[in-house]
């Protein structure tokens, strides 16, 4: 992973990066939310983006997935350039999955239909094939018995696992997670984190915004600390946590440099 702190490029970008973010600037009105962000993510990486609330983490993730436009810089994800308008949308959607803090399941559809909807409408799978895939991914997140339940009949943790399964069913190359456990009680958080850990072990390329420091430290191989719209500090997890370079990061992880 390449990163820059306060604009200094500290490592050469990797050639085989599946996600390349270069000098991205993003405004909301007058507010500069991303201020020259660069980072690379290699296939199989699990990158944890951490930082204080309002530092631009969600915005960065949303920009990567084309949900927000950018004003400067460049984002290439799985070979698709995003950030300026709607180009390449279908291709991008085929390769990138995203899971949100608020699950965003479709409340009027069963768990099964939540998962098969895109499989049949977008991927043009037969009903039987879509159903088989739904069973498979639900089994993977430990909810095989909830096929015919409605979202409201599930706990938050279960709903979030369904949301992960729904995204997973489309076999994305990269998955983006935006604080997917922030709305959950601690005991429900655990079951969602376990699913994500399994995914990481299975080699899925994952970028997650999280407040779960212990989880990030244990599972992520790369960590990005964002501060004031910049990548303040970034690198391999162990290095970063054992020797913080900036006082902001040290303060954030509570070592008080």
């Amino acid at each position: 992973m390449a990163f820059d702190a306060n604009g200094a490029v500290l490592a050469e970008p990797q050639g085989d990066a599946v996600v390349k973010v270069r000098d991205v600037v993003k405004f909301f009105g007058q507010l500069k939310v991303l201020d020259g962000v660069s980072l690379d993510v290699k296939a199989g990486d699990m990158v944890a983006i951490i930082g204080r609330s309002g530092s631009g983490k969600s915005t960065l993730l949303r920009c990567m997935n084309g949900l927000e436009d950018i004003q400067e810089g460049k984002i290439v994800i799985c070979g698709h350039e995003v950030g300026y308008g709607q180009s390449n949308r279908a291709d991008l959607r085929r390769d990138v999955g995203m899971v949100f803090q608020s699950y965003n399941l479709f409340p009027h559809l069963t768990v099964q239909r939540n998962i098969t909807l895109a499989l049949t409408l977008v991927k043009k799978k037969s009903k039987a094939e879509a159903q088989r895939l739904a069973e498979q991914v639900l089994d993977q997140v430990g909810l095989a018995d909830k096929m015919l339940s409605y979202p409201e009949q599930l706990s938050g943790g279960q709903q979030q696992r369904v949301a992960i399964a729904r995204s997973l069913a489309l076999s994305p190359q990269v998955m983006l997670f935006d604080e997917v456990t922030s709305a959950l009680d601690p005991e429900l958080t655990v079951e969602v984190l376990r699913v994500m850990e399994d995914l990481a072990k299975g080699g899925m390329t994952m970028i997650l915004v999280t407040h779960e420091m212990a989880f990030a430290q244990r599972v992520a191989n790369q960590v990005v600390f964002m501060h004031k719209g910049k990548v303040w500090e970034a690198g391999p997890t162990r290095e970063l946590f054992s020797s913080p370079k900036t006082s902001e990061f040290a303060q954030f992880i509570g070592t008080g440099l």
């Binding site: 997935n65 949900l67 279908a90 959607r93 085929r94 990138v96 999955g97 995203m98 949100f100 608020s102 965003n104 399941l105 479709f106 409340p107 009027h108 559809l109 069963t110 909807l117 895109a118 409408l121 977008v122 409605y150 409201e152 009949q153 729904r166 995204s167 489309l170």
Partner: protein, 227 residues
């Protein structure tokens, strides 16, 4: 001054009443179905369309909601006739009722569509659903479920309001009653019967809307909770 009721005309006139009621059903079921379609499309254009479609739909809704149905109907009936196109009173009536129902449906469905959160659209987008599929599969059904009571009431009102189509002599229930009362001079009795028939139709319509709701909103039927 005791009024003496006399319903004897019913003996040979009851089939006419039923035929009138049947035409009311045909006119209004057609108008409700088409009006719902028009209104739903307009509501989608109103919420998700560009500036132009929003303004056109907005103008349509305002014009219809601020003029009497009777006047709308005359404009359709005489307007089409003056363009040299000959349409039956029934077809003109349906056109006017569709235009009217469409406007009210637009307003009601718009409220439903606006109640669907942006995050639902984002989730659908992230799954790769097209705009069209998103509207059809993610937005419309829950939107409709939320406004269904208002929608049903509006359609029952439309059925009752269809009595004004008697003014262009569509041979529906009220028109039939007008003819019978002028033949028999039993106006009070005739309109009591008409009122009873309209009440019966209202109940039948409400029942059918409830049934339709149960078929459409499977989740609600199974769980019994509001969306």
């Amino acid at each position: 001054m005791a009024y003496k009721f006399n319903f004897s005309f019913l003996a040979d006139r009851w089939p006419a009443f039923l035929e009138g009621a049947w035409l009311t059903v045909q006119l209004t079921v057609t108008s409700i179905a088409l009006g719902f379609l028009v209104g739903t499309i307009c509501a989608v254009l109103r919420v998700y369309g560009n500036g132009l479609t929003r303004r056109i739909v907005g103008a349509y809704v305002e014009i219809i909601r601020n003029t009497p149905l009777l006047v709308q109907m005359f404009i359709v009936y005489f307007g089409i006739a003056s363009l040299g196109v000959k349409l039956s009173a029934e077809v003109s009536a349906v056109i006017a009722l569709v235009i009217n129902a469409g406007a009210y449906t637009t307003e009601i469905m718009r409220a439903g569509i606006e109640s669907i959160s942006k995050t639902q659209l984002e989730a659908a987008d992230c799954l790769g659903l097209s705009r069209f599929d998103t509207i059809v599969h993610v937005v419309l059904l829950p939107a409709m479920e939320r406004v269904y009571p208002a929608l049903s009431s509006q359609f029952v009102l439309l059925m009752l309001a269809s009595s004004v189509t008697s003014q262009i002599s569509a041979e529906e229930l009220t028109a039939v009653a007008n003819v019978i009362q002028s033949d028999t001079y039993r106006s009070f009795e005739v309109y009591l019967i008409v009122a009873a028939l309209y009440i019966s139709l209202s109940f039948v319509y409400r029942f059918l809307f409830t049934l339709t709701g149960m078929i459409l909103f499977v989740r609600r039927r199974k769980l019994g909770t509001a969306l």
